[in-house]
């Protein structure tokens, strides 16, 4: 009985509790260690940005956190339970991941693609409620006027928005996005970050995102996890990380910081 209570408490995490966790995780490819003994935690109901130079191991780390990749050693925990203890269809209702998907060449319309976000919930025929999620996701990402176009007729940015809409339709508590701003112009980058903020604040989603533009990380995330050469370089609240000393350690660059409208903006162009 007491054990039962304990377990229930464990799975009903409060906002702010550590919900996604990796402990001492390592991964190598062809004998080369890409992620070295990394331990990080992600708080529920927050946006966590993964930053760092190219080849730092960010993508590998989030791939392991989302089951796309196994880990060599260490532990990956989702709400306190090892990721391996979840059934894959169960996990698909909890965690969704969008990798960089430039090479996909299946001919689906935007609407069809988004509707496959409901696949974990209803494998064969979508219910009315499912279609509700699909419609919402299409409106959320402003895809209404191109919903019947095929993916191969869209620009890179439009495609990217369609994939994000699919992830939204999947309606998982945890959303992991690997460089979602790739291929996007400024307007759509900002609108996607705003959407993610809204998802987090209004619906309590937990969002993990790999971003290259450090100012997007600074302006929109709660926490930042910085990687360098496969190791954890820094981890903490956004305002703890965005300072010249820490950034110098991560990027080997002198980065000035200006405050604009209460946002810290990194200036690294000159």
């Amino acid at each position: 009985m007491a054990l039962n209570m304990l377990e229930r408490q464990k799975s009903e995490l409060e906002t702010g509790d550590i919900a996604l966790e990796v402990k001492n995780v390592s991964k190598s490819f062809d004998g080369k260690k890409v992620v070295k003994d990394v331990s990080v935690g992600v708080r529920k109901g927050s946006i966590t940005s993964f930053i760092g130079p190219n080849g730092a191991g960010k993508s590998t780390l989030i791939s392991m956190m989302s089951r796309l990749m196994g880990h060599d050693s260490g532990e990956v925990l989702i709400e306190g339970k090892p990721i391996k203890s979840y059934k894959s269809d169960e996990l698909a209702k909890k965690v969704s991941i969008l990798k960089q998907a430039n090479n996909i060449n299946i001919r689906l319309t935007v609407r069809e693609l988004v509707s496959f976000g409901r696949f974990p919930h209803s494998r064969n025929r979508l219910s009315k409620a499912d279609w509700g999620f699909v419609e919402n996701a299409i409106d959320y990402m402003e895809l209404r006027d191109m919903q019947d176009k095929y993916l191969d007729q869209l620009s890179g940015g439009q495609k990217q928005r369609a994939f994000i809409a699919m992830v939204l339709a999947q309606d998982t508590d945890y959303i992991i996005l690997d460089e979602p701003l790739n291929n996007l112009d400024m307007k759509h980058s900002v609108s996607i970050m705003k959407t993610l903020r809204k998802l987090c604040d209004d619906l309590g989603k937990t969002i993990l995102i790999v971003v290259h533009d450090i100012n997007f990380a600074s302006c929109y995330s709660d926490d930042i996890i910085a990687m360098k050469d496969g190791e954890l370089a820094a981890q903490g609240h956004c305002h703890e990380i965005i300072n010249p000393t820490t950034l110098k350690k991560i990027y080997d660059m002198d980065i000035g910081i200006e405050e604009v409208n209460c946002n810290k903006i990194c200036v690294y162009f000159t």
Partner: protein, 317 residues
């Protein structure tokens, strides 16, 4: 391309197919057929029609599944070497199990087709450079190697001629009693329909499949099993009909996309219609002789395919 046009077209062509041939059977005369005419109809014409429809449907569906699973529009039982493996299987059956029944030949051919297709998929997993053209090239090369082995042993055992007859797909020898193995394709096509959504998800690739909770490996295996059995059944009974599984799914994909739920019924129907047209033309053009069905499919299919490709530039790249 709508179902409501495809179904009547299929029925009309089926009727034409029944009443075209060397022996004169006229549909207007059906009420006073002689016994011999009825026999021709039931023993030869009807089985031929059934065989064409089943082969058209199942090979097209097999091609579609393969293209979906490999995420490549140019892969089919022909370009992936599945056909060549099945042929090698038949040769092995003839040599090793002399006097093997059709069923036994089918089984050996099936094993070879399955093994060969799995080998192809394993090679695909290993190559990093997954160019659209490179992938089918690997399949074609693999197929050629297998073919060389087949020819070598066929030559050794003086079986070149009977092997050539396997190679040349033909419906002219279909009679009641020798084509029924093809029925195995019907349940497989039904399974393909049931799994349509899963095949579509698998067509988005491994990462998407896993994110959506699809058991990718399992679907891969089911798909390959369907392809191998269908290919083997067709090769054993009819012989090889190259490129049918390549052309039909591509034509349908251009018009209806890759959501199998939408395109599978059309692929199946269009495959049957297309093969029927090719067969009827092949029978009529140099009447009373026949043009081999493989030739007809190749000529008409590639012309049609080229036409569609040139009209839509961004396709399949």
């Amino acid at each position: 391309m709508k179902i409501k046009y495809l179904v009547p077209a299929l029925i009309l062509l089926s009727i034409i197919s029944l009443f075209v041939g060397v022996q004169d059977l006229s549909i207007w005369n059906i009420h006073n057929f002689t016994e011999e005419q009825w026999e021709t109809l039931l023993i030869s014409r009807l089985p031929r029609l059934l065989a064409i429809i089943i082969v058209g449907v199942s090979l097209s569906v097999a091609g579609l599944i393969m293209q979906q699973l490999t995420q490549n529009k140019f892969v089919s039982p022909t370009t992936a070497g599945t056909l060549d493996w099945a042929r090698l299987g038949i040769l092995v059956a003839i040599i090793v199990f002399a006097g093997a029944s059709t069923m036994e030949r089918l089984f050996v051919a099936f094993l070879f087709a399955l093994g060969g297709t799995f080998l192809f998929m394993r090679i695909l997993e290993r190559i990093r450079y997954k160019n659209v053209i490179f992938v089918p090239l690997v399949g074609l090369m693999l197929g050629s190697v297998v073919n060389a082995v087949t020819t070598f042993f066929a030559y050794q055992y003086d079986l070149i001629q009977s092997l050539n007859s396997w190679m040349q797909g033909s419906f002219s020898l279909v009679l009641r009693g020798n084509f029924e193995i093809l029925y195995i394709g019907i349940p497989l096509v039904i399974i393909a329909f049931i799994f349509a959504n899963r095949f579509t998800v698998a067509g988005m690739g491994r990462d998407f499949s896993q994110s959506l909770g699809l058991n990718y490996k399992q679907i891969m295996n089911i798909g390959l099993l369907i392809v191998a059995v269908i290919t083997a059944a067709v090769v054993v009974t009819i012989g090889s009909i190259p490129f049918l599984g390549l052309i039909i799914p591509n034509i349908v994909s251009i018009m209806r996309g890759d959501n199998l739920r939408n395109s599978l019924p059309h692929t199946a129907l269009f495959g049957a219609i297309f093969l029927l047209i090719c067969d009827i033309l092949g029978r009529v053009l140099i009447y009373p002789y026949e043009i081999p069905i493989g030739l007809m499919v190749g000529v008409i299919g590639s012309a049609l395919f080229l036409f569609l490709l040139l009209r839509r530039k961004s396709y399949a790249t």
